[in-house]
């Protein structure tokens, strides 16, 4: 406010009747109460920990963990420190959440669209799927997939073979692992080149369409380039990628890449459960685009495929994205149920085993919660940016 407004307020009420004074006092009291509660809790914790001789501080992060973890995206062995186990847990959480989000989105979109299918059978099937799976607790579904379904797969000796290179058993799915030899670098280079060419192609296609109106199928061509060029080079350079094909030892397959069944069960359960919610979101997003929009687009002569892409989807997405992200957040939080079946996620590895070995509950739980808080706050931030970007211009 500018200074020419003179006295800010007319008159002078009695302080106890002045709402500003009241609100100030009230807020100070609230603040004091919160501070007091916080301080008491903190003080209690410190006293309790001291009187019970519990170690405090984050020094434990540099101690040797000494236990094994079945699955790790980063290098890990039992001689590494607790800070490493934290990272292992974190990356495993991110892995299962990331994959879960990917699959749940795919399944959710398919089911959501199936729900709107003109085929009665398909629509009802989608409805039944949604009503059944979203009304059953996720934890139960995780148990079901892990113990009742994956538990009944054959043992590693009787593993189901796929072309003699991939194996499915109750130890998970084992697939060959690529081994890069000299010359593989060429493939990498061609891949980069193919990516650059594709990008240029897309830009060129857009320019050409603007200039001449002709539409070039840039997407399939790019795809072919990205897949085809490196393959071509692969053969030209004498197949420089070897495959580490899993073979059965005494107990297990050695070599190859293993996807453990805990990951599988957790992923399947998270996907199926979250997809029901996503399907409903997608359905309501699509139905929120009025039929008049489709009709108008059809009446302009746009083929149904283009109507979907140019008119329906962009409008539906605005409605879909905000609730969709909150489902993504839920999925990430729900991935912590991993602890029930022993998938080594953050809660299991760090808030479970590490906490138990070090006994430093306060520090470890605080770190775990901080991770989830960070994830959730960053997603909200992105969402706000997105919402502002796509907000419809209104009168």
């Amino acid at each position: 406010m500018s200074s020419d407004q003179g006295p800010l307020r007319p008159g002078n009420p009695k302080p106890w009747n002045d709402p500003r004074v009241r609100s100030l006092v009230f807020q100070i009291i609230a603040m004091a109460a919160v501070a007091w509660v916080g301080y008491t809790l903190f003080q209690n914790t410190i006293t309790n920990m001291e009187s019970r001789g519990i170690k405090t501080g984050f020094g434990f992060l540099n101690e040797t963990a000494g236990f094994g973890i079945i699955m790790s995206l980063i290098e890990y062995n039992e001689t590494m420190t607790y800070s490493r186990t934290f990272l292992v847990g974190l990356t495993n959480t991110l892995l299962v959440s990331g994959l879960g989000i990917l699959f749940a989105t795919i399944v959710g979109f398919i089911v959501g669209i199936a729900r709107l299918s003109t085929n009665w059978l398909v629509a009802k099937l989608a409805l039944a799927y949604i009503e059944i799976f979203r009304n059953v607790p996720l934890l139960l579904q995780i148990f079901f997939w892990y113990f009742a379904v994956l538990g009944n797969l054959p043992g590693p000796r009787q593993a189901t073979e796929v072309a003699g290179v991939a194996f499915l058993s109750n130890r998970g799915i084992i697939i060959p692992k690529p081994v890069f030899e000299s010359g593989a670098g060429w493939m990498g280079m061609t891949l980069v080149i193919a990516l650059i060419v594709s990008t240029t192609l897309v830009i060129w296609a857009r320019r050409r369409q603007a200039a001449t109106g002709r539409i070039f199928p840039a997407f399939p061509v790019s795809l072919a380039l990205i897949l085809g060029l490196p393959t071509l080079v692969y053969f030209l350079t004498g197949q420089p990628i070897g495959w580490d094909i899993p073979t059965f030892g005494t107990f297990r397959f050695t070599g190859g890449i293993t996807a453990i069944p805990e990951l599988g069960a957790l992923l399947v359960a998270l996907t199926i459960y979250t997809a029901t919610f996503i399907a409903e979101i997608v359905r309501s997003g699509i139905t929120s685009v009025s039929s008049g929009q489709t009709e108008a687009a059809l009446a302009l002569g746009l083929p149904p495929r283009r109507v979907l892409r140019l008119v329906v989807v962009p409008q539906a997405l605005r409605v879909i994205i905000p609730p969709l992200t909150s489902q993504y957040l839920n999925l990430t939080k729900n991935s912590s149920l991993a602890v029930a079946i022993g998938y080594p996620d953050l809660v299991n590895v760090f808030m479970g085993t590490s906490l138990n070995q070090t006994g430093q509950a306060v520090e470890i739980v605080a770190m775990t919660m901080a991770v989830y808080l960070t994830i959730s706050l960053s997603i909200s931030l992105l969402m706000n940016i997105y919402n502002r970007a796509v907000a419809l211009e209104e009168r």
């Binding site: 807020q27 309790n48 085929n119 607790p137 139960l140 912590s336 306060v362 739980v365 808080l373 706050l377």
Partner: protein, 366 residues
């Protein structure tokens, strides 16, 4: 030109009528659709038929113990035999009439909206449900008063515990959620800040970390010697968690009330609290019934997580019996039973919320 004689309307061509039309429009509207119908139909038949056969037709419903069962079909005897445990956990058998009575009271409070009764009855039943029932239920189930034998909470379990967790979680979370929502819309920045931080914190962390804190860490935060019941602590955790979600739902309702309502109430000389209590909240809560129902349903499902902190809710009870060596291979039956119970309740709740929504609709728009 002669006077126009309206042509009689003809009946539609066959493809446009009855079952043929239905089939054509819904199952075989294009060749692609026809193929999809056939494929989906085939797979449905080949999976559903054996499944139904397994679960019903060749299933064993009566008999004595595991011997009566056959490995290729469902063995429901298992559920029958452990039914009491699944429903009440370790609750002493002789006293199980008490929780049963509490359930009956609960049903009385809940059912009226489904019956053709005057809406007054429904309202009173609802009021009883959120005031009298918790007290009566607590006295009945916990005992220790009126000469009822006291039953320790560690003996509570099964579906009973699931329902108690969900019910108390909801009843206690609603007022806290409302307070948080009002706080978040307050004009006082500090109050607003506190509420925002509180809500966002609880919404960001997974429930099991909260349950873990509540169940094993809470005494660490309290003065030495202060401690309370484990179940109660789990309930506190669940309630605060739920309250944060509730707050966001209620906030949505508050935002939907037009400014004019606030101003009209203000102009009549009503103070802040009366304005909220008499004008704003009644309208806002009505709007958010579906939202509340949704959070309630997800809370109900989330109560299964108490299994991880060692409480024997329905899932915990069933799961703990699955490792009984006397009963092999009843895992599927056990899980299906739990799934069925939860499904019935969740589905029921969503219907119930529709019913309440209709009943509360006193706007009577023309």
């Amino acid at each position: 030109m002669a006077t126009h004689q309206p042509l009689p309307s003809q009946s539609a061509p066959v493809v446009q009528r009855g079952i043929v039309r239905w089939l054509r429009e819904n199952l075989f509207s294009s060749w692609l659709n026809s193929i999809v119908t056939l494929v989906v139909g085939y797979y449905l038949l080949t999976t559903l038929v054996p499944l139904i056969d397994w679960a019903f037709f060749s299933a064993v419903f009566t008999g004595a113990g595991v011997e009566a069962c056959n490995p290729n079909s469902a063995c429901w005897i298992f559920i029958q035999e452990r039914f009491g445990f699944f429903m009440y956990g370790f609750y002493p058998e002789a006293l199980r009439w008490r929780p049963t009575l509490a359930f009956v009271l609960f049903a009385l409070a809940v059912v009226p909206p489904f019956l053709p009764l005057p809406s007054r009855v429904g309202r009173w039943a609802g009021i009883f449900g959120i005031t009298g029932l918790p007290v009566a239920g607590y006295i009945l189930i916990s005992g220790g008063l009126f000469g009822l034998e006291s039953v320790n909470t560690s003996q509570w379990g099964g579906l009973m515990l699931t329902l108690i967790l969900a019910y108390v979680g909801i009843i206690a979370a609603l007022p806290i959620g409302v307070a948080l929502a009002l706080g978040r819309r307050s004009e006082m920045p500090i109050i607003r800040g506190i509420c925002v931080v509180f809500i966002e914190f609880w919404r960001a962390v997974p429930l099991i970390t909260i349950l873990f804190m509540a169940s094993v860490m809470l005494p660490l935060f309290l003065p030495d010697g202060v401690s309370f019941d484990k179940l109660l602590r789990a309930l506190v955790g669940i309630t605060l968690f739920q309250a944060a979600y509730m707050a966001e739902v209620v906030r949505g309702g508050l935002q939907a009330i037009p400014r004019g309502q606030y101003e009209a109430a203000e102009a009549l000389g009503l103070g802040y609290w009366r304005r909220m209590r008499l004008i704003i909240l009644p309208q806002a809560l009505k709007i958010v019934v579906p939202g509340i129902a949704n959070t309630v349903i997800s809370l109900f499902k989330d109560t299964t997580l108490v299994l991880i902190i060692g409480l024997f809710d329905l899932l915990g009870a069933v799961k703990s019996t699955l490792s009984d060596p006397a009963w092999n291979n009843v895992m599927a039956e056990g899980y299906l039973f739990v799934a069925f119970c939860f499904w019935v309740f969740c589905f029921g709740m969503s219907r119930y919320s529709h019913r309440i929504e209709k009943q509360l609709d006193t706007d009577h728009r023309q």
